[in-house]
């Protein structure tokens, strides 16, 4: 087991290096430059942008810049944003709690919908409930979030005027009003993301349960005279959830990465909106840090999923 984890971690190092190099070169090759706006402003002499480029090392060759970035990163220095001249970790730490809160709640919402609905639908396959649930699930993951998001805004904010559609991380209220305001503004983004995720997970849970429910041991359990509830929760669900756990584990990095589109629509100041504004501004250090942490999390969560899988299903060995 230990040697397995060690082996996986050792394999991860070259893949992370490869990922970072590819990211860095793609960003370097992409058009645009962080000081483009300065260049287009007639009041700012061209030398100003040139001096800034030189100061921030943007004129160095690609390999030199990559090496500088990599050696700083290894020492824990993530660099600073060209645009706001703030350290990258400060920017990320400001955004992270909001992303964790909003995306995290949406994932929990998705699980709370997907598991009961999926299990119930699978236990009565092709019943009316199953048909309706499947149709809704299909609609759920077919509709893009930018569409459902705007639909919700038009209905709940503009027609009914119930919910705000601009997310404000700092609310100047205290006590219960503070929580109430936070809750109100979270409803729409969390619903949009949660329902989208629930759609695909419901389908997944349903098919996983269906695979298990026909197995002989379930029939045995039933013939022993166990109640349907016990059969489903104790015998079926446990085994059916093994692949679902993997799926959820693989989804974990998304909680860090945020949801670019949804954050943009509701102005949620999370990691997703940080990365999109950094991309638009060609702010390489921020983009590199966020994408690199994200890819590291993907690799880590993959490893975690594999380990959890082995722990849940003893048939799998790590030898």
């Amino acid at each position: 087991m230990f040697s397995y984890i060690l082996r996986r971690i050792l394999i991860a190092v070259p893949s992370l290096l490869g990922i970072s190099f590819v990211l860095f070169s793609v960003l370097a090759l992409a058009p645009g430059d962080p000081f483009g706006e300065l260049v287009n402003n007639p009041n700012i002499p061209a030398e100003v942008a040139a001096a800034l480029r030189a100061k921030f090392g943007l004129d160095d060759p690609l390999m030199v810049r990559y090496w500088n970035w990599l050696s700083a990163m290894v020492q824990g220095d993530w660099g600073f944003s060209f645009i706001s001249r703030v350290d990258v970790e400060t920017l990320i730490m400001q955004r992270l709690p909001i992303t964790l809160l909003v995306i995290g709640s949406s994932q929990i919402l998705a699980l709370c919908i997907a598991i009961p609905v999926g299990v119930y639908a699978a236990s009565k396959p092709y019943s009316l409930f199953d048909q309706v649930a499947s149709t809704l699930a299909f609609i759920g993951f077919s509709l893009p979030t930018f569409f459902t998001g705007i639909l919700l805004i038009l209905f709940f904010s503009i027609q009914l005027d119930w919910l705000p559609f601009v997310y404000r991380a700092d609310i100047a209220e205290t006590g219960w009003r503070f929580y109430w305001e936070h809750l109100k503004q979270m409803i729409m983004p969390v619903t949009v993301l949660g329902l989208f995720q629930a759609g695909s997970w419901t389908r997944y849970v349903r098919s996983a349960v269906l695979d298990v429910i026909r197995l002989d041991y379930v029939t045995t359990a039933r013939s022993k005279g166990l109640s349907e509830k016990v059969v489903i929760t104790k015998h079926v669900l446990r085994n059916a959830l093994i692949p679902v756990v993997t799926l959820v584990a693989l989804q974990m990095p998304a909680i860090f990465g945020g949801a670019i589109v949804t954050e943009q629509i509701f102005r949620v100041p999370g990691i997703g909106s940080l990365i999109i504004s950094s991309m638009l501004a060609n702010d390489t250090p921020v983009i590199m840090a966020v994408t690199f942490v994200f890819s590291a999390l993907v690799i880590a969560c993959n490893l975690l999923a594999d380990i959890v899988y082995g722990w849940l299903d003893p048939r799998i060995s790590f030898a």
């Binding site: 000081f35 703030v86 404000r168 504004s277």
Partner: protein, 596 residues
């Protein structure tokens, strides 16, 4: 009325033969606007009547929160590092310049006690120095007094190349010295008619010396106050998250009575312009939204909700077409569009004049831009004192065809004109942007009818407007026959705007295409007029020179002005927010209040 007549009248006002009011009334009779007439007086050294402020509240505070929405949030709060206007706006909540620009292009004092002029002795007659008297009893947010040392320091801070301030251009060639604790002298190397550039407006916000002194030069990035501004403005800093939120709270020691009105201010960033317009005009969730780059049709629809209104403020930005004077299709000395070459088709002025008549400006305004783009024949459209009244435009396909016919461009069998074996075919590029592609279509159709084959090309904005020397599709390279974009004039003086047609500004390989003249059009007369205007201290003569330059460029048809673009923003109905096209949206934040 000619220059002499005008001078006579101004003199009469000076010796109080006629009153200001009479003068202005007379000028209106000659077709001048009030601001222009008043500007003439001010520029001639006659003190300007202070714009009567419409500020009503009679006590400080009590206005509750002011919620503003900036769809691109500020990313830093040091005005001398501001990458775009969004950063200047965020800084403007807390910092103030010596003076700001009102909507007519006049100076309004903030930290200055008065506006320097030749009459009050502030402005030297040779244009080489300005003396600013500073307001007394102004306190920084941390309680320290504001003095001349802060002004001198700010100029030195911005001028230091190691600081990497983006405002360095305004400070590197000037000398700022302290005369006494509340007087500073700005000296210029040569006569400078536009003396109100440093220390004024969005480039002139003053920093506190006691907090930034240790961070001048190479350590500038480490200053803790880059993120926690301490200024003299109407609101004190509370909290800042780059790109997301800036919050401020009322400054109870603000140096003007009864101001500000609101108890706190919040600037929320992110999202897009359309939903920002919705949040203000339709739901009223926010009080003010900046830079509503939204189609006018939609703005009108949102306004029908009755919660808010769109503010349209004239400024100097113009959407215009450039015609390439050099040959973009052949490489000479390793450079396309080499300034030594001549464009095979567009060097014929008849073709350029015909194109000028094929642009349906009224149609573009009516069907595309609405209130956000006004058809114009001029390149220089504001402030009013610089605007030519002699130019006009016309959309006439028949006349354009006749002109081409007369110049020897005959229609071939496919309907496209040919002369000396050259087909009249042009490639027309612009950035990808809905209104621009629609405008391209309108022009292409008219050109087709006149026998010009126009191929349309559109380039992603981030490429087109980049400065990447390796990319052939940037607007400064202009490796194309015709192109269209908006050029900006952020300040009320046109000197840095009109350099776009000077022959020494050619964008070439040698200057990495950083020259400002993309059309590579040149005229000795234009060059001479521009050089003369650079040191002309008489404002009336200088204005006449800029009017002439505009006319030269328009008559030379190296450009075809299409529409000038006022600034648009949204506000809820009860918010009173005086805006200016020559300064930040928040330039007069101290005077914002709510009608109750």
């Amino acid at each position: 009325m000619d220059e002499n007549g005008l001078r006579g009248l101004i003199e009469q006002v000076r010796v109080k033969d006629i009153s200001r009011k009479d003068f202005i009334r007379k000028m209106i009779g000659y077709g001048l606007t009030v601001p222009m007439a008043s500007q003439l007086l001010m520029s001639s050294g006659i003190a300007q009547a202070q714009t009567a402020s419409s500020y009503k509240p009679t006590k400080r505070g009590g206005g509750g929160p002011l919620k503003t929405l900036w769809w691109q949030g500020p990313t830093l709060l040091n005005p001398h590092f501001a990458v775009g206007t969004k950063d200047q706006e965020g800084s403007r909540i807390f910092y103030e310049p010596l003076a700001g620009w009102d909507n007519d292009g006049n100076l309004v004092p903030f930290l200055a006690a008065e506006i320097p002029s030749t009459t009050n002795g502030g402005l030297s007659r040779d244009g080489k120095s300005v003396i600013w008297k500073l307001k007394r009893n102004v306190l920084w947010h941390d309680g320290k007094p504001f003095t001349a040392d802060d002004v001198v320091f700010t100029a030195a801070y911005a001028a230091d190349p190691a600081t990497s301030a983006v405002t360095i251009g305004s400070y590197k060639d000037i000398k700022v010295t302290k005369i006494d604790s509340h007087t500073v002298k700005v000296e210029f190397a040569k006569p400078t008619p536009y003396w109100a550039d440093p220390l004024v407006g969005n480039l002139g916000m003053i920093l506190p010396k006691h907090l930034f002194e240790a961070y001048k030069g190479a350590k500038s990035r480490e200053a803790p106050n880059n993120l926690k501004p301490v200024g003299t403005g109407p609101y004190k800093f509370v909290d800042f998250k780059p790109g997301d939120m800036v919050r401020g709270v009322i400054n109870n020691d603000y140096h003007e009575a009864n101001r500000p009105y609101f108890d706190s201010i919040e600037m929320k960033g992110g999202g897009d312009a359309v939903s920002a317009a919705r949040a203000v005009l339709q739901t009223g969730e926010f009080d003010y939204a900046w830079n509503l780059q939204v189609e006018d049709e939609l703005l009108l629809r949102l306004e029908q909700g009755g919660k808010g209104r769109t503010n349209i403020v004239p400024g100097g930005n113009i959407e215009f077409i450039q015609l390439n004077m050099t040959d973009p299709w052949t490489e000479v000395d390793g450079e396309r569009a080499n300034s030594k070459t001549k464009h095979p088709i567009l060097s014929d002025i008849a073709v350029r004049q015909a194109l000028n008549m094929l642009v349906d400006r009224d149609g573009v305004q009516k069907f595309i831009y609405g209130r956000t783009g006004v058809a114009t024949a001029n390149f220089l459209n504001n402030p009013q004192r610089f605007v030519s009244k002699n130019t006009k435009f016309e959309f006439n396909i028949d006349k354009a065809s006749a002109l081409l016919e007369g110049a020897g461009w005959k229609k071939g069998s496919d309907g496209i004109r040919v002369k000396d074996g050259k087909r009249l075919k042009l490639v027309f590029q612009t950035s990808i942007n809905g209104p621009r592609q629609k405008t391209q279509q309108i022009i292409k159709q008219a050109a087709q009818k006149a026998g010009i084959d126009m191929e349309l090309k559109s380039v992603t904005g981030s490429v087109y407007f980049s400065s990447d020397p390796a990319n052939p599709d940037t607007y400064t390279k202009f490796f194309c026959d015709v192109q269209m974009y908006t050029t900006t004039m952020p300040q009320p003086d046109p000197e840095k705007f009109m350099d776009q047609y000077c022959s020494w500004e050619f964008a070439t390989k040698a200057n990495k295409w950083q020259g400002r003249n993309n059309t590579r059009w040149s005229s000795p007369e234009y060059d001479a007029t521009y050089t003369a205007a650079q040191s002309e201290m008489d404002p009336v003569k200088r204005a006449a020179m800029f009017i002439k330059m505009n006319e030269l460029a328009v008559a030379g048809v190296c450009i075809i002005p299409v529409v000038y673009r006022p600034r648009t923003s949204g506000a809820v109905n009860n918010l009173v927010a005086p805006l200016s096209g020559w300064d930040n949206d928040l330039w007069l934040l101290k005077d914002w209040y709510r009608n109750t």
